[in-house]
């Protein structure tokens, strides 16, 4: 993971970079940054974010894993046209040539369950992620733009929701609402939007105080236009990070909720697979193949999203990219050693 990040150092335009980066780039990059000459370009932020991500190994690894799972989810009906819950084999068979991942205690094909499970899990994760981020954007922008009473009220609401313990609230809500996929999504959005709102608000606030926003206000642009055309594009990387975090939250929380038996137990999803595995005593009978695949899938998807998220961080925050090696500093205090990072 050592090559390409140095090349992206120069591509991030905007406030954060102005101070730190040039110094970092003039230093040697022994890990071999191929490509762009240091400090060469000042580009539009959005494009450089994309370019930075495309040349970032973490981001590309994450995207590759994610792509595989999305492909599997889309292809599930082709690969296993039958109902995955159908009983097709003997109970609790170990993985073999016929059932690559064995069978459950009921005799269902674990591989079919896992692949079909990707559909519901990814769908809910993405829906929850986009919905929470969208609410977060609305609240954050409104807070930052209008300020005063509106900001106070929205911030108070956000902070209260942040403080209410999420998982118990999830459980209580899920217990009172009728079970179903809609309920799961609704409950996850209700408990998940506040985190993104807080992050986005603070970023929007700092952009709100910039001169170009003041200029837009003076020229009489409408509030909505200022919020979405002036402020929002300048916080693209934060929005992206928030979105990824929200999707991770959505997938994990859905799995947790379903594992507790509070989802819709009739649908096939990773969380429900684990719920049934627990219910049918897969742990105690030693059928590891029943509960390992679904958990691994959740972890891999969350991991791939985290990778992309950290890559966004690295690309947009130059301080995380440069390395100051202590030893060199101590022996030669005058020079600051800087290298491309992992």
């Amino acid at each position: 993971m050592t090559t390409s990040i140095a090349t992206t150092a120069s591509t991030v335009a905007g406030e954060t970079l102005a101070g730190g980066a040039p110094a970092g780039n003039t230093a040697a990059t022994p890990d071999g940054g191929a490509g762009l000459p240091p400090g060469a370009s000042v580009r539009r932020p959005n494009r450089s974010l994309l370019h930075g991500l495309l040349t970032n190994k973490k981001a590309m690894t994450g995207a590759a894993i994610l792509f595989v799972f999305i492909a599997l989810a889309l292809l599930a009906p082709v690969l296993y046209p039958d109902n995955p819950s159908k009983i097709t084999g003997m109970a609790s068979q170990e993985p073999d040539a016929e059932f690559w991942l064995g069978t459950t205690a009921k005799g269902q094909d674990v591989l079919a369950l896992t692949i079909h499970g990707a559909r519901s899990s990814l769908l809910v994760g993405l829906t929850v992620g986009f919905a929470s981020t969208f609410i977060g954007i609305l609240v954050g922008l409104a807070s930052a733009y209008f300020g005063r009473v509106i900001d106070e009220a929205l911030s108070l609401t956000t902070n209260v929701f942040l403080l209410l313990p999420g998982l118990p609230l999830l459980v209580i809500l899920a217990a009172f609402l009728p079970p179903g996929l809609g309920t799961v999504i609704l409950v996850l959005v209700v408990t998940g939007w506040a985190g993104s709102a807080r992050v986005l608000r603070s970023q929007a606030l700092s952009i709100r105080s910039k001169d170009f926003v003041a200029a837009a206000v003076v020229t009489g642009e409408r509030p909505l236009r200022i919020m979405f055309r002036e402020i929002l594009p300048n916080m693209a990387s934060i929005v992206m990070g928030t979105l990824l975090a929200c999707i991770i939250y959505g997938i994990g929380a859905q799995a947790g909720l379903e594992f507790l038996g509070l989802g819709d137990v009739s649908t096939v999803s990773w969380g429900n697979n684990l719920y049934w595995a627990g219910n049918e005593g897969a742990l105690l009978t030693g059928s590891w193949w029943v509960f390992v695949p679904s958990g691994l899938c959740i972890a891999l998807v969350a991991f791939s999203l985290s990778l992309i998220n950290y890559a966004v961080d690295e690309v947009t925050n130059p301080r995380l990219r440069k390395i100051r090696v202590r030893k060199i500093r101590k022996t030669k205090p005058a020079k600051t050693g800087k290298r491309a990072s992992a």
């Binding site: 403080l163 209410l164 313990p165 594992f259 742990l283 991991f303 985290s306």
Partner: protein
């Protein structure tokens, strides 16, 4: 002082919101869950107890605001009704018998994770590009991606069922009477290892990365260069100069994590059948025990708010900028 009062006011509002949420949920949910509950359990209860529960949960003919005032009064004075799944024990008693286990499990795990994570973060930031800095973060991010309960299941299967090193359920063996003897304590300790370990494993990465990133920013400050120029020992600079100033975000997240202690250990408790509030909450949900559910939720919320308030007080002590305003 003004800061503390403002925070206190905020926590009171938050507490009021959670009580109100508790009040509204059974009254406005579709499907009338409360009637379902009564249909299941009516024959076991005394008429006056049914009456009290009806009032608590909103099967009631009085105007809504009157119910609300009554409810607020009941909650603030700790009258949460009787548990239905453990009839006729009062809700408060059930909760009191559970909360200690959760605090033990969550507290142990949280302290270990925070101390280890922060130390690793400090070391990683200090030696950027070193072994800790390059090897650990990806591994920890990967482990942190697993759902808590799944790691718990894996640990239970591997160390509990297959290897048989640790007990697989409950907080202590059925054969031992609870007492302050060495035998009982070590038994509790053995039961604590697996659940605590899984929580630590999943959460330590977050602590480490958070600390690392703040510390990297701190390391770039001029006073660190100054300290080096003065020729102070590296250990002293690392802990007394850099880490000390990078601690503040960690303190804040410690407050937030205390919420996780009480509420978030839920899944782990469920996997290990650990008798804490989380496990009880799920049992209450499955047994349609609404009074207990509400009581647990309020207790958890109150604990979270209290913990955060304590952290705020600590914050005033730690950060002079807060005092100045």
């Amino acid at each position: 002082m003004r800061f503390i009062l403002r925070r206190l006011g905020f926590y009171l509002i938050a507490f009021w919101v959670s009580i109100t949420l508790n009040f509204l949920l059974p009254r406005f949910m579709p499907g009338d869950p409360v009637s379902r509950m009564f249909a299941r359990t009516q024959d076991r209860m005394q008429p006056e107890q049914i009456e009290a529960l009806r009032k608590l949960l909103g099967v009631d003919d009085r105007p809504i605001w009157e119910q609300y005032v009554d409810y607020l009064h009941n909650m603030v004075t700790g009258q949460m009704g009787v548990s239905i799944s453990r009839f006729p024990t009062p809700v408060t008693e059930v909760i009191a018998s559970q909360v200690g286990w959760t605090l033990l499990l969550g507290g142990t795990a949280l302290v270990i994770a925070a101390v280890v994570g922060n130390l690793l973060g400090i070391l990683a930031a200090w030696r950027r590009g070193g072994a800790i800095d390059s090897a650990l973060p990806p591994v920890l991010i990967f482990i942190g991606s697993f759902p808590y309960f799944w790691l718990a299941m894996g640990a239970l299967y591997l160390f509990g069922v297959t290897l048989g090193w640790f007990p697989i359920r409950h907080a202590f063996s059925d054969t031992i009477e609870p007492s302050f003897s060495w035998e009982f304590m070590s038994d509790v300790g053995m039961h604590l290892v697996l659940p605590a370990l899984t929580i630590v494993l999943v959460s330590v990465g977050g602590w480490m990365l958070g600390m690392r990133n703040t510390m990297i920013a701190t390391n770039a400050e001029d006073y660190i260069t100054m300290a080096e120029a003065k020729g102070l020992r590296p250990g002293r600079i690392m802990f007394r100069y850099a880490a000390r100033n990078a601690m503040l975000p960690s303190v804040t997240s410690f407050g937030m994590s205390l919420g996780f202690v009480v509420g978030g250990a839920l899944l782990t408790e469920v996997v290990f059948a650990y008798p804490g509030v989380g496990y009880q909450l799920l049992n209450a949900v499955q047994g349609l025990d609404y009074p207990l559910m509400q009581g647990l939720f309020l207790t958890i919320t109150a604990a979270v708010l209290l913990a955060n308030f304590l952290v705020d007080i600590l914050y005033v002590r730690l950060d002079p900028r807060v005092r100045a305003n």
